[in-house]
Amino acid sequence: MPDERFFEPDVETMPRARIAALQEERILELVPYVYERSALVRKKWEEARVKPSDINSLADFTERVPFITKDDIRQFREAAQDPFGGLLCTDYADAATVFSTSGTTGDATLYAHAWDRWHPFWAATARDLWEIGVRPGDYVLGSGFKMRGPLYHADQMVGAIPVLVNTGIGGWATALDAIRRYRPVYAQLTGLALAELDHLSRTTDMREVFSSFKGAAFAGEPLGARARAQLESWGVEVYLWTSTGDVTGAWECRQHDGCHAWEDCVLLEAVDPAGRTPGTSAPVADGELGELVATSLDNPVTPMVRFRSDDIIRMTRQPCACGRTHARFWPVGRKGDETIVAGRSFVPMDIWRALEGVPETATALFQLVRPAREIDELKVRVGYDPDTTTSVPELRDRVSEVITAAVGVPPVLELLPEPELLARGRGGKLPRVVKA
């Protein structure tokens, strides 16, 4: 098996018709299960006058079953004093683990799993690590955060050996030592880690450091063009991955042509972001912008059912050139990230690109301070490299100039040394849009 291209070839290259049949089978099992057990599902379905007997096919499910939003979960949690927001379908005692979403938006959602050997969130990730080229006996940098559970289970599933060192802020001197000793083939990177690697690259031969790597994964936020180019200049092949509505992960393959969702694990939909009900939020065509909607097919404890993620994606169900057949998608941004200031519209990525062009702020660590989606004043908190900044007032002028050019409105800037801004990060990422 180590010589095979795919970790689970039968699953990963399953014909589309078989994927659809498998999903329909699981959905028809899920429908009565969640209706009986999930208080939030029961409430939403009763409000929409939908009963399990109305759902007899996958098409019925996607046409009639109401969506669940993060606000629905939050409101149910507060109204019913239910920590799981009405999602829990078993006794709490049946859960092995209760983890939570990053909480970047200020309110983490709990999700639980029952499991025995490997944590289910990371089980399918073994397919993705295999695709990167991780094989039995390889060392990998067992890095990242643990809030979603033991990510190193995916490493161990493919027979790799996690080297568990700190790759967070301030940890990379040690991590470089570990890389030189064990010559790992893979690591998980975050935006906050990239900021530190950027600084280390001034005194360290990064091509030599990463010469043993087959690839590195990056997640949590968009990868800026400068950061990608920098990683590539170090010889690192970057694999982006993202979450599919907090059900599981979706990773790029060697083609780097979209993130593969594992459709035996999640029913993935892309719907019109503007509407709120099945009647007004129809599926969008392949390749069109839509909001990611996820339904768990493999979690009997807290299954998400038509969960609207707020993630804007483009999706295709066309087979990938790698040979896999499951849907792929390209994350575009977060619903609601679009901001209007003084009548002009922009997204955080516009500021991101602008800051990458200023050497002292090239790591693009910033926060858009936005109490509402429409604002009168563009307030931006920007991190700068204190080691290379000689004059903060002069830097302020240059940053103001590039942001004004990108957005069309002069910003009100709060400049902070990078370490101070990094301290405001959560779950390995810096919230890019904050209220204060």
Binding site: Y92, A123, P136, P162, Y182
Partner: protein, 251 residues
């Protein structure tokens, strides 16, 4: 199902290396150490016994109980394990043990910006033990610390958090990394037990040294840990007879 099919594929693979690699400091130098799969299984068994002594077991429907030493009753709730990814060689056995004992667990990371997560779990869930609480997270909880202390009956804390927790009204038990080993206080509070089948600790001039005693992948010999503390021997109220360490606060 996905988890089952992926696990089946994983089971068919060779696993030629150890469980993982950790790192500790000895004599001011980093020491990378292997944890073998057999080492890990024995660590899980020891962790099960330590957690069971604290009353960790299947969640009971009639609410939390116990918590005061000696814990005659089952704690009967979930756990928050406060640890970071690099600490997994020490803390994963306790996470695995909690799962095997039937107690759901959550992870509160050890970073200040993640302190909110420990507070959130303690506030929302029927948690009856926090295991591994350190000063960074305790301070990061701010005003919420007193509420967490009042809500969670058993707190097993790092030495650097003990004073802060005591001032907040807790009577924490102690857990501490001792080089590649983990020392954990039992409900009798007579020092933190080290698994004597695996490790031997010595104390000279107030500094702790560790050697491997068991058939582990990592063989340490009198490794100077730069850790201040004292040793206690003799029988403990819990029935164990091995070494216990008392770590100086702030270590």
């Amino acid at each position: 199902m996905t988890a089952a099919s992926s696990a089946a594929a994983a089971a068919a693979l060779p696993r030629p290396g150890p469980w993982g690699i950790g790192r500790y400091d000895a004599a001011g130098q980093p020491v990378f150490f292997e944890v073998g799969w057999d080492d890990w299984r024995r660590d899980v068994a020891w962790a099960r016994a330590m957690l069971a002594d604290h009353g960790v077991g299947p969640v009971k429907g009639d609410g939390p109980g116990g918590g005061s030493p000696p814990c005659a009753e089952k704690v009967g709730g979930g756990l928050i394990v406060v640890s970071g990814m690099p600490e997994s060689p020490w803390f994963d056995p306790f996470e695995t043990a909690a799962r095997e004992l039937g107690a759901p667990y959550s992870i509160g990371e050890i970073y200040a910006f993640e302190a909110f997560r420990t507070g959130m779990y303690a506030r929302r869930l029927p948690v009856t033990m926090i295991f591994g609480l350190d000063r960074t997270v305790a301070e990061g909880l701010g005003d919420e610390l007193a509420e967490v202390v009042a809500r969670v009956p058993v707190i097993v804390a790092r030495p650097d958090a003990a004073g802060l927790l005591a001032r907040a009204g807790a009577q924490p038990f102690i857990v501490s990394r001792v080089g590649p080993a983990l020392a954990v206080e039992c409900p009798y509070r007579s020092g933190a037990h080290v698994n004597g089948a695996e490790w031997a600790v010595a104390e000279r001039g107030g500094e702790l040294f560790i050697s491997t005693a068991g058939p582990r992948a990592h063989q340490a010999s009198e490794a100077a840990l730069g850790l201040r503390g004292t040793l206690t021997d003799g029988p403990c109220g819990c029935g164990r007879t091995g070494q216990r360490v008392i770590i100086s606060e702030g270590a």
